[in-house]
Symmetry: D4
């Protein structure tokens, strides 16, 4: 409700068209009606620039199929994350445009390719081979959202020369996604080398006091480099999404 509408309401009171009681009732609801008004005719893909993504874990194949059917009536692209090969097989058999990416545990279903929206290159780095599924999820997410993406895997800090072999790629990236489990040290080292934003993704890889990725997460949040922000454990999708938004600015 803008000030004009408010003026009209009060004029209606002044002219006797509305009683004071009616106006009280209406005014006590202002804040919410404002919001209602703004949102009723807005869809998520309008507001956020990308449709909602289906989190596959804990949903049946039938549930996923049902949601996809409704989404595809309106959307050009639908993503399903964290879906195993078995369920994925059932799902993609129903959608000719759907493709399962096993290494990233994702289904991408798109009618047309999205144009490249981001100007720079997003670089995905991962510390160990076991971190690759999470890194791939980040990679694929950024890719389908319309970005140039590069990836280098297995460049953890125990053999830091491996990282420096890719110094050129690192220097040229506009946004970096760094994926690591165990001690989670790689984002700090990488962020120390560049002037670009780094999205750090802890993974649940490790044993003992890795605590399913919590140690890596805390290490990343304590990074002595300031150009690091962090997402939840194993949240490759979120990192790719965030990096894509940054790259598209």
């Amino acid at each position: 409700m803008d000030s004009k509408s408010l003026y009209q309401l009060l004029s209606a009171v002044a002219s006797g068209k509305k009683s004071a009681e009616e106006a009280v009732a209406k005014l006590m609801n202002i804040a919410c009606e404002d919001i209602e008004y703004a949102h009723i005719d807005h869809h998520r893909s309008l507001r956020k620039g990308f449709p909602e993504v289906i989190f596959g874990q804990g949903k049946t194949a039938d549930q996923i199929i049902g949601i996809m059917e409704k989404m595809l009536r309106q959307e050009n692209i639908v993503l399903v994350t964290r879906i195993d090969q078995n369920k994925a097989g059932q799902v993609i058999s129903r959608f000719p445009d759907a493709k399962y990416h096993q290494d990233a545990r994702m289904i991408v279903c798109k009618k047309n390719d999205l144009p490249i929206a981001g100007k720079g290159t997003i670089l995905v780095l991962s510390a160990g081979t076991s971190d690759i599924p999470v890194a791939r999820e980040a990679y694929l997410t950024a890719k389908v959202m319309g970005n140039n993406v590069e990836a280098v895997y297995d460049v953890g800090v125990a053999g830091i020369h491996r990282l420096f072999n890719h110094k050129k790629l690192i220097d040229q990236a506009s946004v970096l996604i760094v994926v690591a489990g165990m001690e989670g040290a790689l984002p700090s080292v990488v962020a120390g080398l560049v002037s670009r934003p780094v999205i750090a993704v802890p993974t649940s890889i490790g044993y003992g006091v890795s605590f399913g990725g919590v140690t890596a997460l805390f290490a990343m949040l304590n990074s002595c480099s300031s150009n690091v922000a962090v997402v939840n454990i194993d949240n490759g999708f979120g990192a790719g999404y965030m990096a894509s938004l940054i790259n598209s600015l």
Copy 2:
């Protein structure tokens, strides 16, 4: 060492100018010498685009003054974070260009204003009045790094209409920094409204099971919105730094 240098080394061996033993020794050190070579003549402000920042907490005024003197010989701007009024008084009395910002607990010492580098506007939102010092630290950091910054405080979710009153600012921001303690819900709500990256900053405000900000941190990492990345508890500086890098892309 690039492939040309490697060729020269091996040619020297082939021509007898270097023995095989000398080449072995040299090659076993390649990775690191490369790095040494590349970094000796590079300063942080060259590499990262902004000089190192002095973390004031736990340092004496004398230590801070000493570090500032050395930095100011080479840098245009120096920041000191987390410094209380008492120590700050001693420090700024020594540097005519230094100014203490009590609400952000920061000293900014700059010879010249930095040009506006970021194209969009960074918006800082905070949930409660107690979160303001952290929000101000983020605000000031982004400001001195050359960005247009806006701020709205005390728009927490317990009275969500306060947030919607600022819908216009929220929609126009290119990057958002959202600061909250207690249940840390504000970043999720804000991120659900926009298509821009949100940097979430948990604060240590709260009591009981707020655990000094840990609950807010975990809540933010669990955000059901995907455009959220998180920094350490009370790390307003890091959020401002990160937002500035993003805004400058």
Copy 3:
């Protein structure tokens, strides 16, 4: 034994239909049976207004059947919570009045409908689709205890306009049950909109630092709204029970 049955026994004594000795034996026998299994039921429905509820998880179908048989001799209604479809099938095949509600993982076995005891309406809100089983448990519990109950699912804070679409229901509820996993932000937002008591139920939905619902729980306990009290993770039954007591005042 409810107070009506007790009254009938004592009236029988008063009218001479039963001797005092017979009544002593019956009442003492109840006390003795208690120690093994029955006392719970008898005294609880007198003292607490509703019979004990069978927590199905970790009990065999046979154990559940055995307990139900004993309870149904004295009670009008018996609930079994947290029972999967498989076990439920075995159980309900033995009791003609029993019905399994798969979405809530509950069996309700009642001889007669309970009269509507609560005057207002209890509203159950849930943040995500995965939170629905817990929300349904709360819904069904409040329903069978004799309340008008409404429910709205999937109105989490990532798309807060969905919540506002149901503002009317929210405003009219006398008690609200708000179910959420992940960052657990919904109860704070809802409680900020109403002047009624809100029972918050954290769920174990999430991954990484959701810690099986602990983060949602802590967030809810830190709510910046004062009209929120919290039950254990996934405890939909407890929330429905508590809301029913409040609504019946």
Copy 4:
């Protein structure tokens, strides 16, 4: 601004005493003032039935005085919680209607007594003598919100006969607030005795593995009685507020 004041304003418009323009200005001004400090007060007492409460901890006496001055222009009653005697002395010297309750660490400042709104009696029980400040905060909050409140302190489970000495009060209460630190067992025992809702308040009293109230909190959330809901550690205010809402249904 309560609904009565709003009605008066609109009646003035309806009767021509105020123009629509004047009313727009006044109502918009409220909205504008909101952003800085006043919106909370105005809208909250309309929306929630009770004005915002000032959390005294971490605010200076001057800040508290400033907020109180603004609130008292529109509100009949203002509460300040968690304020020590020293600060409270400075604050109450400025407001003739303000009174400091040292045992509850609260200031109550009211122009007129609130009418008794709740029909039943709220009973506050506390386990140990050290839990009394939290219990008193709950007591006073419920009291000033217009309820009949009774309190019994020091009836912890180590000498459970003390509790049973008050069986009559317990049976007659419409809502119970049970405050306990250490092992937090009292709410379970009390809830097992009654058919009414119990609000459990863990306190930070204890040492070693009491972990500042976390053990008591977890114990209460695990209560084997179903009529228990829990608030944050030491949150006596929240419990009193919640109990008052329940009692007013």
Copy 5:
């Protein structure tokens, strides 16, 4: 209420002296009235064999004096635990029979010595010198409760021969209290040497991952010896009390 009383009640109904309604009301309260009846005329020192002990920490000297005055009217002995020298000075100046034991941070105030009640000897062992205050609290508690008590300090596992020098004392003790901080290993080692019950007391001595005694506590609960039970961190009093009860059997 025993069966005789129940018979009388029901006879009164049968004879019309009581109505069925009165009997319903009375019977619904049976369990608790029984308890009430049994406890009203029982004091703690009757029930438990020793009067309540005053936990000094967090109480003022005046509060302690007040409680002591009331207790000493009925009791032969009063203990105050965790009281510092300053407060203790004020307290003992008021009671001629009171003595402060600084090493144990306890006041013992007794009119007459208690007779030796325990038949065997209680042995208190502590791992380090910093654990001595807790060990002394255990020692003094067991002593004033009427036991023969021996103590050996500083026999931690880093120099295990020190422990074996006291093998004779260890073998002859009827109950052992073993006090240790840091890694908390001493109770396991001692319990492996004897066939008697060992009460283990973790202390808050240590730094880093000693977590204020939590590590020692967990280590003791994991003891590979079966004759170990554990009390809360720094709870020397509880260990002495428990050992005294065991020794008095």
Copy 6:
């Protein structure tokens, strides 16, 4: 080898039936066998009064059989704890004296009954039906170690009158073992009623913030009654062992 067997060996030497050399060989052989597997048994039953107990969890049936065979050559009684029905079936088929107690998940294999060594009665109380396996483990352990043991199950604090129905047993016990999961409140309540030592056993029963028994454990360690000591989660065996030692003093 118990002290009687040792005496017989040495008597044989004294009477010339065995040479000193033969005895050296036998006694040294014991020492040598120790390193592999047997020393434990021999020395422990001398030193501790009861042979080592086999922790069945994580051992194969074959391993358990192997250890039992060696132990039974020298011991009158062997216990196996935490063994499921399947493995137990294989084990007891090999030992005619072995009996599996399914409710306690234990095998007891004894050649002769042990004489009653403890003078008083040990009482085992458990809060819920799910706690019974742990309670039974405690019961059986105390029983086979030669004690009079009584047990009452399902007397948790949610219906505290159930506990008071057994007041007589409680008052007469010389040692009490109290088993509880969830909020772990029962030991505090029971310990408040008696002057005897209480061994508290937390169980892993519960969900959400019961954290597999940790909440119950912490609650018990924080007991406001002083006559409580605690063993590890689900450690019924340890509680029975400890209670037996206390009862045998």
Copy 7:
């Protein structure tokens, strides 16, 4: 590629058998192969003196075989840790030099025995029989790296005389590896007896508050002996590796 192979390549250049171009290609190729999988092996055995070790857990047999094939082209020895019997069977069927050590869950594949490099003896001690797999992993690792290694199992602190039976071995060891779960007390006791470095390995053996080895880990880090350093839970390989490096100094 070890330093000998590198020398041969460069000698071939020096003698004209290979051109500088060919050598550049070969050395650059190594660098390129690195990125995918091979660089690790080559550079690590040069830099660290021992090739990388394959962490078998979470890899398929095929993946392990693939990595081994590439490593064995250049290395004399390859280790696979944490591999179960099933997968190991598939792997060793492909490599005639490979042998599976079930007790240590390791594959050792070596072309030639390594010479004994360490001068002293490494002693591995373990507290319980369940700790043996971890102890064996340490033992075997140290053995194949060229050390004299001794091991004594099942000498935990509950029967400390078992440890002293091996005093001679303990005194003569140059480095000690001490493996323990549960309360993790053994390293402290052992380290108190010797002047040599002790590497402590916590294991995940235990239940309840052993927290999968975390309690043992923390106890070891709190050791009151100074000659103790600790590795991650169950990290027998790391302990053997570290001890070997120390012994080879």
Copy 8:
């Protein structure tokens, strides 16, 4: 007791010089008497090669002086760790040979210099300037124990080229001590560069989720390099002690 002594004992029984009872008593004590006998005439400095060290924190100056006086009668060197300047002033005024090292918070009191015992060089590296006190404690400890020690401070991973500037020192060290707070990444990076043992020391430097050094500790224990072992948080002394033992092998 060796086999000869055992033979003599048994011969005494055979010859009637000792009764079987006497021998039983003696044999039941073997293990421990052995140990007693072995340790009575052994001092710590004999057994461990270095006298006990005084942990200054929590001790008064007088207590420290008292302990030092007794130690200096027998020892050439005494160390006091964690002592602040104030207390240190009082202590060193009493011992002419004592010197306070403020940067390491240690007193070293030695009559004569210890000869250099270690053959190699110990290198101490620290990540940040705030970690220097812990690094200095390690440095000084290793130094006074007779080692060549080098130190480089402020070479954290945020500017990793700083580390590579000291590659030569790093390559030549025989043992490395790496000190780091915050994310604790430096030990992993350093250990990846060398084939020598690395002792990692987490420090309590950091804020938010650094949890007083716990995050750094866990990161170090999760190091992807195998040549790392870890000591407790801030335990510079332990690291220096351990490194000295390793270097002296």
